[in-house]
């Protein structure tokens, strides 16, 4: 009885499958072949705070595009892998995308380390990669990065914007304070490199550990130098600690500028009122409402904001914006030149005036990032929220 039951069930499943295949196959044959885009994000693991909004954005955007009839009638198909924030898994995922899935273009990975790990892979296979990570080394030297692009701004753009802002305020004597991890070290390098070029005099160069409990010693030293402004470069608890200590020490007459890592409103909450008057450069995607109505990005950001907030009930992040930009660029290239990796690469390299979430991109054979300092807006913390800095 039992055996009979199993066999019967098997037969039923088989019939069901046959019927399903029968009904689907003719329709597929009639439609055009789908266009594949390879996607690698850190959906889980340490960098999931980046990968999660990226995956959500990419899937939302793909759904939107397919609803509107796909790319020239070709269905857009995302082949998405989670690299679990792990370099080895990221390399495996990219290999699989290139060899098994045979995608003509890849977007991601989420973080710089993982991107750098797959750069040679994509270059050798001659498949264009549009990274969502920030490190400048991803796209330089450009002759070794023929197939690699990135949509996240570089630290140098942020530093240039900050220095320009300080000079406009008549401030030339500046102290810098950086955290001793990858983020801080890379920011420090740019802060030190650009200061003499832009006419900024650095009076102090302080550092601290990512888990330090108190920064008053560093701040007191900075206070002793007579600097007019302080630039702090860190993410995590120390950037909040810096603000609290600055306030407690009564140093508010010294202009305080944070890096773009301060972007989350959570940081203002954590500082509990101490963040009032703190400046920081932000990508416009972080502040949809504040973007002036006549700015070219206003429309795309507002549309993305509405769709994303309505669906996921969480504020936009720069990371989700990177996914939007990279997928949109890939889709546009597919629509223009079809699924040919070499043609997609050439198309991307010459794309000008692409209005995205991260800024207005102008790619060129010498610049595979395409952003500039003007894609950062200087904001100030006012009444517990962001306001445009004058």
């Amino acid at each position: 009885m039992r055996r009979f039951g199993k066999g019967w069930r098997g037969a039923a499943t088989l019939t069901f499958c046959l019927v399903l295949v029968w009904s689907v196959v003719p329709r597929l044959a009639a439609a055009k072949e789908p266009y594949k885009v390879g996607v690698v994000f850190a959906v889980t693991g340490g960098a999931s705070i980046l990968g999660e909004p990226e995956k959500r954005t990419a899937e939302m955007l793909a759904e939107e595009i397919n609803k509107k009839g796909g790319i020239d009638g070709h269905k857009l198909e995302l082949v998405l892998y989670d690299d679990e924030s792990d370099e080895t898994k990221c390399v495996l995922a990219v290999k699989k995308l290139i060899k098994t899935d045979k995608v003509p273009v890849i977007i991601g990975p989420s973080v710089s380390g993982n991107t750098l790990a797959v750069v040679s892979e994509c270059n050798e296979a001659k498949v264009p990669l549009i990274s969502c990570a920030a490190a400048i080394k991803i796209v330089t030297p450009v002759e070794d990065r023929k197939w690699i692009f990135k949509v996240a701004p570089s630290d140098s753009h942020s530093v240039e914007r900050i220095y320009e802002f300080l000079l406009k305020k008549g401030i030339k004597k500046v102290a810098i304070m950086t955290v001793s991890d990858g983020y801080g070290a890379s920011g420090r390098e740019e802060l030190l490199r650009l200061a003499p070029q832009m006419g900024i005099e650095l009076l102090a160069d302080e550092r601290y550990g990512p888990k330090d409990t108190d920064l008053t010693a560093q701040l007191t030293r900075i206070r002793g130098t007579g600097a007019q402004a302080l630039v702090n470069w860190s993410v995590g608890p120390t950037q909040v600690l810096a603000v609290k200590n600055w306030k407690d020490l009564g140093m508010t007459s010294m202009t305080f500028v944070q890096s773009h890592g301060f972007a989350s409103k959570k940081n203002i909450e954590l500082a509990g009122g101490a963040a009032e008057g703190v400046f920081c450069p932000l990508g416009r995607v972080n502040i949809p409402e504040l973007v002036p109505a006549n700015h070219p990005q206003k429309q795309v950001i507002m549309a993305y904001n509405e769709a994303y907030q309505g669906r996921f009930k969480e504020p936009l992040s720069a990371f989700g914006g990177h996914a939007w930009d990279s997928l949109k660029l890939a889709v546009e290239a597919l629509g223009a030149v079809g699924p040919d990796p070499a043609k997609i690469r050439d198309y991307l390299e010459n794309r000008k005036n692409f209005v995205g979430q991260g800024g207005v991109f102008n790619f060129s054979p010498t610049d595979h990032c395409g952003l500039s300092k003007n894609d950062f807006e200087m904001v100030v913390v006012k009444n517990g929220t962001w306001a445009l800095a004058q």
Partner: protein
């Protein structure tokens, strides 16, 4: 921006150093209590501090501060007791090294659990008595610093009284002197081990609760605090309570002065350098007894 005089700066560095140092000292005390009874190092000590801080943030939301503080210490003490019962106690005849590795495992577990409960973001807490700093000799001093110093002083006094005046305290000291002899005169050694874990968890929790308004707290802060505290415990001589507190303060002040006067990049290195130098000259630590250190395993 007016410049701060060198004197004012020095005062500022000293206050910072003493604050950080007294937390190192409290962590070192926790190490010592367990070390004295069991000769092992509990590497989950930093995690007790982290748990204390995060618990305090939660408790202070719906309880007045003193009660929140007591509840926090009680909960973390319970965690310490559970840790001893489920991981240390069941291991019969295990070597000290095995036990130490077990504590590392527990610290990873506690960190993971804390990440699940509280997430990865740091938590912030209002200072116990107002956010307005006091101005002393040109330096700005957060009022919370006084709380940190006060609570650590109270802990030291209470511990001294406990070990000098009470039966249990004396029994624990007896275990520290000679485990076999203590067992022979009828002291329940197993219970003393449990008590030592409860005590050091409580001290860790108190340290975490008072430091959180200054430093913020997140799930993975424990490891570094544990490391610095361990450094202080070794510097002061493992097992010595006054040594632990003094060494914690020395470490904190050296770090802070280095960050202020030399370079903040070398702060951690200088702390470790001082530790190494002392160990070269006096392997038993600043306040440890040379004879005692010869018969101990570590």
């Amino acid at each position: 921006m007016e410049k701060l005089s060198l004197g004012g700066q020095l005062v500022q560095y000293l206050f910072t150093g003493v604050t950080v140092g007294s937390v190192y000292g409290m962590v070192a005390l926790g190490f010592n209590i367990i070390y004295n009874v069991t000769e092992m190092i509990n590497f989950a000590q930093g995690e007790f501090v982290m748990l204390g801080g995060l618990m305090m943030v939660v408790c202070a939301k719906f309880l007045p501060l003193p009660m929140a503080f007591v509840l926090t210490v009680a909960i973390v003490t319970a965690v310490g007791v559970l840790m001893e019962r489920f991981t240390i106690n069941p291991l019969k005849n295990a070597s000290v090294l095995t036990l130490i590795i077990v504590t590392i495992a527990v610290s990873i577990l506690l960190k993971g659990i804390a990440m699940f409960i509280w997430g990865k973001d740091p938590y912030v807490m209002q200072p116990f008595s107002g956010t307005k700093p006091i101005h002393l000799f040109g330096a700005a001093v957060q009022t919370q610093i006084l709380w940190v110093l006060g609570i650590s002083a109270v802990v030291v006094v209470l511990l001294t009284l406990f070990f000098r005046k009470t039966r249990y305290g004396k029994a624990m000291l007896a275990c520290a002197d000679n485990l076999e002899a203590a067992r022979l005169v009828g002291i329940k050694v197993k219970f003393m081990v449990l008590l030592s874990f409860a005590l050091s968890a409580a001290i860790g929790a108190a340290a975490g609760a008072v430091i959180t308004p200054i430093s913020l707290m997140e799930y993975d802060r424990g490891a570094l605090l544990g490391l610095k505290g361990f450094g202080a415990a070794v510097l002061g001589g493992l097992g010595s309570f006054y040594g632990a507190v003094a060494a914690g303060l020395i470490l904190g002040i050296v770090e802070s002065l280095c960050a202020g006067l030399i370079s903040s990049g070398y702060k951690d290195a200088v702390g470790l350098l001082v530790l190494l130098l002392v160990l070269f000259v006096r392997p038993s630590g600043l306040f440890g007894s040379v004879e005692a250190s010869k018969i101990k395993k570590f």
